[in-house]
């Protein structure tokens, strides 16, 4: 795909920004709907996330007194841009045209930026709830990021490549990595839940403790953009885990026409990401918010240990030649 026109279409239309935007809206809808139904409620209609976005975009932007405006304005944009960029490196149907060795690291790094932006926003808000929330957000970052990174690095160990697209291709020849490395898969899912700050890890925005955490002083388009950044990271995160761990689950028959095979690949992508979303939604509905000190225990004692154990298992497996 060297044609510059096609590349621009890839970046802007499909499966680039436009698709990401539309899909993140659908994702949010599905998430809210699934949780609502599990709680025996009706849930929002299909267009609700989009309506929310348009509404918040149109609202007045209020500056807290003494706030550093340029940075306050820029942080949500940076967060959103980082997430959108990272999506370009995640393979949707077949490998990403922008893939290079090490894009996994880049994606992981870019996915961290929204959290840092949130911390910055909290700190700049000059609001005690936002500041506490911001501190909580970074503290949490240090806890879940280690197992999350470890879990997502494990496939590179086995596949011998640092490119997401290559890992995906590797799984097609071998086995799906969710089967080869189940612990890493689970740790990655939990890490994603923490990254997205959803229950039980919604500590930074714990409503009943610190109002909305770093979000407290966000209004209008800042709130809308930050929210969009959060929603898109849900899509990117799910797509990333789908590519890295569920890459082998391709359609077992070869489909003849190129268009048809692309469609099948696309449907598979949708199925995988929605399945991941379902797991995340179930976790969200079935848990209570843990405390920061409890998360510390969970993160270091269990998640990191599990991830390290997986590293050991993978090394042993590689040494004995299992699964390769």
């Amino acid at each position: 795909m060297t044609d510059p026109f096609l590349l621009i279409a890839y970046i802007l239309l499909f499966p680039g920004f436009l698709f990401l935007f539309a899909y993140s809206m659908t994702f949010e809808f599905l998430d809210r709907r699934i949780v609502a139904r599990m709680q025996n409620r009706v849930g929002p209609p299909f267009f609700q996330p989009f309506a929310d976005l348009v509404k918040t975009l149109g609202k007045e932007v209020i500056d807290p007194r003494g706030v550093d405006r340029p940075i306050f304005d820029a942080a949500p944009v940076v967060a959103l841009a980082a997430v959108m960029t990272s999506f370009l490196y995640v393979p949707i149907i077949g490998p990403s045209p922008l893939a290079f060795q090490g894009d996994l690291v880049l994606v992981l790094y870019l996915l961290t930026l929204p959290t840092l932006a949130l911390m910055l926003l909290g700190w700049l808000s000059r609001n005690i709830y936002a500041a506490v929330g911001g501190i909580r957000a970074v503290t949490m970052l240090f806890i879940y990021e280690v197992p999350f990174f470890l879990a997502l690095m494990m496939p590179t160990l086995m596949a011998g490549t640092w490119s997401i697209s290559d890992i995906m291709a590797w799984q097609e020849e071998h086995l799906c990595l969710a089967i080869l490395q189940p612990i890493a898969f689970i740790v990655a899912l939990i890490g994603l839940q923490a990254k997205l700050e959803r229950t039980p890890f919604d500590i930074p925005e714990a409503e009943t403790e610190i109002v909305a955490g770093p979000w407290t002083e966000l209004t209008g388009r800042r709130l809308a953009l930050m929210h969009l950044a959060n929603e898109t990271s849900a899509v990117v995160g799910s797509a990333l885990i789908a590519a890295v761990f569920l890459g082998g689950l391709a359609f077992p028959w070869t489909v003849e026409s190129a268009i048809l095979s692309a469609t099948v690949g696309f449907l598979l992508f949708l199925a995988k990401t929605v399945a991941i979303l379902l797991v995340l939604s179930i976790i969200r509905a079935a848990t209570a918010r843990v405390r920061l000190d409890q998360l510390n225990t969970i993160g270091w004692k269990y998640l990191t240990m599990a991830a390290l154990a997986q590293v050991g298992i993978v090394l042993v497996m590689m040494a004995s030649g299992v699964g390769i």
Binding site: A206, T208, E209, I210, V211, A286, T287, A288, R289, D293
Partner: protein
């Protein structure tokens, strides 16, 4: 880390009613606490002195939205005692049925709120869904969901028809099953348990010395329940048990409350099945003879006491209301010191505070000097009645 002051309230998502905590934290840990109450003083006690016994009951009932029947019952109980009126058994049974239904819906509401405070919204939605069954029963029996207005001096306002009794009994099996489900959920929902276990611990001695009442005290192993210790209505003639627990923390309080829902259900069922016939009210005189009484009652949140003084007219000369929340506040302040900030909503919610009902306390300076120049209290010890 430097100390920061986190203001919680008077408007805050964790609080459903206005109260203000100035929480001084060191990082996430609470080192000091200031409690400011009485944001919604309504002057109900004074207003109650202006009305005759018929018109005062709807007012007394509005002290609290959740335990409305409790306040009305404890008040009419006191007045009847002063008048020397014995209310007929059928009225006693009806009052008991409403009282226990009220306890059920209050505890279910609490369970939902407690779950919401720790971010477990699913349980919140479920308990409130199931609570509707209780509220529907109350609506069918009394004509309203919240303010039943069933009491009047000398009996009850409304009789229960056989079809109403039948419909109420038909709802019981569903509720019974739901209560069993809650017991299961509370026992095995890990994340919720980590938030409840060991949080807000109150030993038996502490509970006694802070004067805690209701489920808060019973969860610390204090076997105190006005229904057993100073029986009124029909509590001494029907089978039921006081639910206690030894955990002393929020988990214990949850268990006590769920146990009490089950007990209440048993009481309601028993009363509905054994509802005696006869009149629903005795003839009460218009005016009460001069007298003083302290009427006690076990509301869902604990012991509520009304001190009533009458002076021979059809009005009270003075009514002083002590709500259970007031008795439990000091224990909250004690529990919060040293805990992480994240525990504030849980510990506060665990006593099931009813703040507006409590807004009538008096500040007493230790020198015995009452007055407007008393300094603002700095810490929970500054408050006393």
């Amino acid at each position: 880390m430097t100390r920061i002051v986190v203001p919680i309230g008077p408007q805050h998502p964790a609080l459903k009613e206005p109260v203000n905590f100035r929480v001084v934290t060191d990082g996430e840990r609470i080192v000091d606490l200031e409690l400011n109450l009485s944001y919604s003083h309504r002057g109900i006690e004074k207003a109650a002195e202006q009305r005759d016994f018929i018109r005062v009951l709807p007012l007394i009932e509005r002290v609290c939205g959740i335990c409305s029947h409790s306040h009305a019952t404890v008040f009419s109980k006191g007045i009847e005692e002063i008048m020397g009126v014995e209310i007929p058994p059928r009225a006693q049974y009806i009052r008991t049925i409403i009282a226990e239904l009220e306890r059920m819906h209050s505890h279910m509401l609490w369970l939902g709120v407690a779950a919401h405070e720790v971010g477990f919204n699913t349980l919140f939605m479920w308990t409130w869904r199931d609570r509707e069954a209780v509220l529907d029963t109350l609506e069918e029996l009394s004509g309203n969901r919240v303010h039943y207005n069933m009491n009047e001096i000398g009996g009850v306002r409304l009789d229960l028809s056989p079809s109403q009794v039948e419909a109420a009994l038909a709802r019981m099996p569903v509720l019974e099953e739901r209560i069993r489900a809650y017991v299961g959920m509370v026992e095995d929902e890990e994340t919720m348990l980590t938030r409840f276990r060991g949080v807000g611990s109150l030993s038996r001695e502490e509970a006694l010395s802070f004067g805690a009442v209701g489920p808060t005290a019973r969860a610390s192993g204090v076997d105190y329940d006005v229904r057993k210790d100073d029986p009124y209505l029909v509590y001494d003639e029907i089978p039921w048990n006081v639910v206690t627990d030894t955990n002393g923390d929020v988990y214990g309080r949850t268990k006590v409350r769920i146990g009490e829902i089950a007990e209440s259900l048993g009481i309601v069922r028993h009363c509905l099945e054994n509802l005696p016939g006869g009149p629903i009210r005795a003839e009460a005189p218009k005016a009460a003879p001069p007298g003083e009484i302290l009427s006690r009652y076990e509301a869902p949140r604990g012991e509520v006491a009304h001190f009533i003084r009458t002076n021979g007219t059809a009005r009270v000369e003075r009514v002083d209301i002590r709500t259970p929340t007031l008795a439990n506040w000091t224990s909250v302040a004690h529990c919060l010191i040293g805990r992480p900030l994240a525990d504030v909503p849980v510990i506060v919610a665990a006593i099931d505070p009813c703040l507006s009902c409590t807004s009538r306390i008096t500040l007493v300076k230790s020198g015995g000097d009452l007055g407007k120049d008393a300094p603002p209290p700095n810490g929970p010890r500054g408050w006393s009645r």
